[in-house]
């Protein structure tokens, strides 16, 4: 995955080791999903993160959001009983037809 990301250059002043926050947050999310970036991107991101508390906060909060979203996806919710009864009927009718 070391093809140049055109978005990075497009965001601001091209790609240099000196990233702006727009580029750094973008790369943070990319890394979050792909686990790794190109060497150049990785180095530039590390450098930026060491200096920018806002982007560090962004990274932390993004991870927290992911956890909270994943947690909310496995929450138990019960189907209302009356809807279950309706579905039972539907299935039984269907089975009897065939």
């Amino acid at each position: 995955m070391s093809t140049e990301d055109k978005n990075i250059a497009y965001f601001s002043k091209g790609f240099s080791l000196n990233l702006c926050c727009k580029q750094a947050t973008y790369l943070t999310l990319k890394k979050e999903e792909l686990q790794k970036l190109s060497f150049k991107e990785e180095t530039a991101l590390k450098f930026h993160m060491s200096m920018c508390k806002f982007c560090r906060a962004f990274k932390k909060q993004s991870a927290m959001m992911n956890d909270a979203i994943k947690q909310s996806l496995s929450e138990m919710v019960l189907m209302p009983q009356e809807d279950k009864e309706k579905l039972k009927l539907l299935i039984n009718n269907n089975l009897n037809k065939s």
Partner: protein, 199 residues
Amino acid sequence: MSQTSTAPLLNPEKWIDSYADYLYAFAYNRVNDEETAKDLVQETFLSALKAKDSFKGEAAEKTWLVSILKNKVIDHYRKNAAHPQQSFEESEQYKVAYSHYFTDDGLREGHWQKSTSPKVWNTSDKSNIEQKEFKNILAKCLAKLPKTWSSVFSLKYLEEEESSTICKELDITSSNYWVIIHRAKLQMRECLEKNWVKA
């Protein structure tokens, strides 16, 4: 007439008692709407009945049903993303400009705007995040995103869908995908900070 009309591995009479709650929760947690969730579960059972003769027993009954439901949920997101009844202007108006987050002038180009830069979140009570409240706010924030964005964002969390799959499902380029994820996350973060965590 087929000789094995009811595969021994499937027990449709027991489906509701065994799986309805699980499937309903799976759908509800992903579409955030009771009626839509009910419809998706019903469609899942009907599709399963139709396909029951081709069930080979390679997967467990439950896994098989979940995979059918998952496809229905993806379909739902895809329809949502296309959303023909929503005009372009309408879908655009929720699109918060990049310049809302990052300056586009001079030396500080691309740096955080003061007003929307991340504040420190008070996470000392993170362990007892009120799930119910979070869910409501999350749904509210998701609903504020342009339809395509919220579909991309939701698909990302559906069973850890690969980005290449999402791009194919929603017919977007990978470069577009990353920009959507970036902008959606910025907007979600801001929305959650305003409504959920007391910064």
